[in-house]
């Protein structure tokens, strides 16, 4: 266990946390404001990645691909909203879970049909290629740093949007008491669409940024979706601040846990057992964390809903 490894994995954990935040932010807003459980948010992320690859193959430019893919992801999100989701706002959570599960099945398969089942990749742009020396024998890829920085910038932007603008105030009000906001005459439909579209874009953006470093394949959104749900449950449904904190915690716990769990297990158990127990505990860590948080704070760390 060297300091370099610790440093690398900490940065990796932050990076995962940022990705999780981008996905979770849209998820918690949609859930908070519209009381809508969107299991299909993970495929939103996957679409972003695939669209980025497709746009790159079309244009040959990374930067153009990002802009085009972002627009395309937004359109896809709004299309889904129009076709499926808007019919589910008044349904109970079980119906929402099932219908969005159907969307997952469909889109995971559609992506396989359009692009095949083999993993795709997106090359890192020249500007962000290579690594920089952070410490003595510690070099970290530039792109990953850019990801972290961009993610933090988006987080700040979101914070400003939500707390300092009128729209943001409406969103926060909607998350606390949607009926009241509708009763006050605000066009709740349009607010919903706005929130949804923005959330879809964030998830798509996460997918675009993840494409160069993770493999783009069908079902890539599924595991991150579960993690994102754990994030918003821990953070408190409807709370962006909670999502940010919880995402970073989960990203760090999961990454560091996976790196060091086996080593820690070896201290306590014989090597053969440790090799089994280590990864198992690592996978379970975040769920244990979630169960623990829910035990003490049943509504998460920063609950927003009044009722």
């Amino acid at each position: 266990m060297s300091v370099t490894l610790l440093a690398v994995q900490t940065l990796n954990g932050l990076q995962l946390g940022i990705l999780l935040f981008l996905i979770a932010a849209g998820l918690t807003l949609v859930f908070g404001v519209m009381d809508f459980i969107n299991l299909a948010h993970g495929v939103q992320y996957m679409l972003g990645a695939y669209l980025a690859v497709a746009c790159y193959q079309l244009t040959g430019s990374f930067w153009l691909a990002v802009i085009l893919a972002l627009a395309a992801a937004l359109i896809c999100g709004l299309l889904l909203e129009f076709l499926v989701f808007r019919h589910l706002y008044n349904r109970d959570h079980l119906d929402q879970v099932l219908a969005t599960f159907g969307v997952i099945l469909f889109l995971n398969e559609a992506v396989k049909v359009l692009w095949g089942g083999a993993p795709l990749s997106l090359p890192v742009p020249e500007l962000l290629d290579g690594s920089i020396q952070l410490m003595a024998n510690f070099a970290y890829p530039v792109f990953r740093i850019a990801l972290i920085v961009t993610g933090l910038a988006v987080a700040v932007l979101l914070y400003v949007l939500v707390t300092k603008t009128r729209i943001g105030m409406l969103v926060r009000a909607g998350a606390t008491n949607p009926d009241m906001v509708a009763a006050l005459g605000i066009n709740i439909r349009r607010l919903f669409m706005l929130v949804f579209g923005f959330g879809a874009m964030l998830a798509g953006f996460a997918g675009i940024m993840a494409a160069p470093i993770l493999s783009v394949e069908p079902g890539m959104g599924d595991n991150l979706l579960i993690l994102a749900f754990v994030v918003i449950v821990i953070g408190g449904i409807g709370s962006i601040r909670g999502a940010f904190l919880a995402a970073l915690i989960i990203g760090l716990v999961d990454t560091l846990g996976r790196s060091f769990a086996t080593d820690i297990a070896r201290v306590l158990l014989p090597p053969a057992a440790a090799n089994d127990v280590g990864p198992a505990i690592a996978s379970m860590l975040i769920y244990i964390l979630m169960a623990g948080v829910l035990f003490f704070r049943p509504s998460g760390l920063f609950p927003v809903r009044s009722a």
Binding site: I37, D95, L98, N275, M284, Y287
Partner: protein
């Protein structure tokens, strides 16, 4: 002819009668595939009715129910690795393992509500899944093949195609009758009442928690028995038995049939698996059709198949209450 008597008595009898005839059909038409296919369907049906018991009756949306299949299956498989094949050892053990897991996870999960409950049951299901993938001695991610089937006092009950089918059918019938009795009992009444208005039940002096926990454990134990049967049917176990996709599919089976009637869940399972089989015969991309189909069912098929049968699509009937 769609009144409660038809729905609650004639229909299930007809259903079970039809299912009892499958081996005869397979014999006459020399169709082994149908027999094996329906054996598999019935095993899933057992899990489905256990889920309908807590979900349909008690409104507990468990997104981790597939974990119990794993408990039962792995109990049988692991014991077989150590050369223990007796069903009267492995099956009770499977039930005990599943029941204990249900007791512990249920005690924690049932303190939560709504989406938190869904999430925490999902989390526990994932924990079971990841534990199974880490059991390298028992196959880990790749799963474990069983070199034979369980034995019951030296009879070939588990090995013969038809006899195994009847075994599974018997377990399904038994579980169905048991759960149906529970549902009609005072205990079931509390569950159904709590689903409609928890404040009212508390004001009557009943804390629904204990009743829900009991139901949750019962469901877990029944699903574990199904898991033990599944291990025998496939002669193979793997962590995939416990994936959250599988838990989602189970919920779909229950919903497809219409919540709460138990035999509806059996119908839903049959419909789901037949559909899956037919569609995948046409194309490996059958999910392209299945996904939207599921969405349509959710949006427009309120009440599932049972709702269709009673002519209740979209609306609750007036006048006489159900059951």
């Amino acid at each position: 002819m769609t009144g409660p008597f038809f729905k609650n008595t004639v229909l299930p009898i007809a259903l079970f009668a039809a299912l009892a005839l499958v081996p005869a059909y397979a014999d006459v038409f020399d169709d082994r595939f149908v027999l094996l296919f329906f054996t598999r369907i019935l095993v899933f049906a057992i899990v489905a009715i256990s889920l309908d018991f807590i979900l349909g009756l008690g409104a507990m949306v468990s997104f981790g129910h597939a974990a119990y299949i794993g408990f039962g299956a792995y109990a049988v498989a692991i014991l077989s690795e150590h050369d223990i094949w007796d069903a009267w050892i492995s099956f009770p053990l499977a039930m005990a393992a599943g029941g204990l897991f249900a007791l512990v996870t249920g005690a924690i999960s049932l303190k939560t509500r709504g989406v938190y409950f869904i999430m925490i049951t999902l989390a526990f299901g994932q924990m079971a899944y990841f534990t199974a993938t880490s059991l390298s001695a028992y196959g880990g991610d790749d799963g474990l093949t069983m070199w034979g089937r369980s034995e019951l006092f030296g009879t070939g009950l588990f090995t013969g195609d038809a006899s195994f089918y009847y075994l599974v059918f018997g377990v399904l019938a038994g579980a169905y009758l048991l759960l149906r009795t529970f549902a009609a009992s005072r205990f079931g009444r509390v569950l159904k009442g709590a689903k409609q208005s928890e404040p009212r039940l508390e004001a009557m002096g009943i804390d629904p928690y204990r009743y829900r926990l009991a139901a949750y454990v019962i469901a877990g134990m029944i699903a574990s028995v199904a898991g033990a049967l599944m291990a025998n049917q496939a002669e193979f176990v793997s962590p995939a038995y416990m994936s959250w996709h599988r838990s989602g599919e189970l919920i779909v089976m229950v919903i497809l049939g219409g919540l709460g009637s138990l035999h509806g869940a059996i119908l839903g399972t049959i419909a789901f698996m037949v559909l899956e089989e037919v569609l995948s015969g046409y194309s490996e991309h059958w999910r392209l059709v299945f996904g939207p189909l599921l969405i349509l069912v959710v949006l427009y098929g309120r009440g599932g198949l049972m709702g269709l049968i009673s002519g209740q699509i979209g609306r609750k009937s007036r006048g006489e209450a159900d059951q």
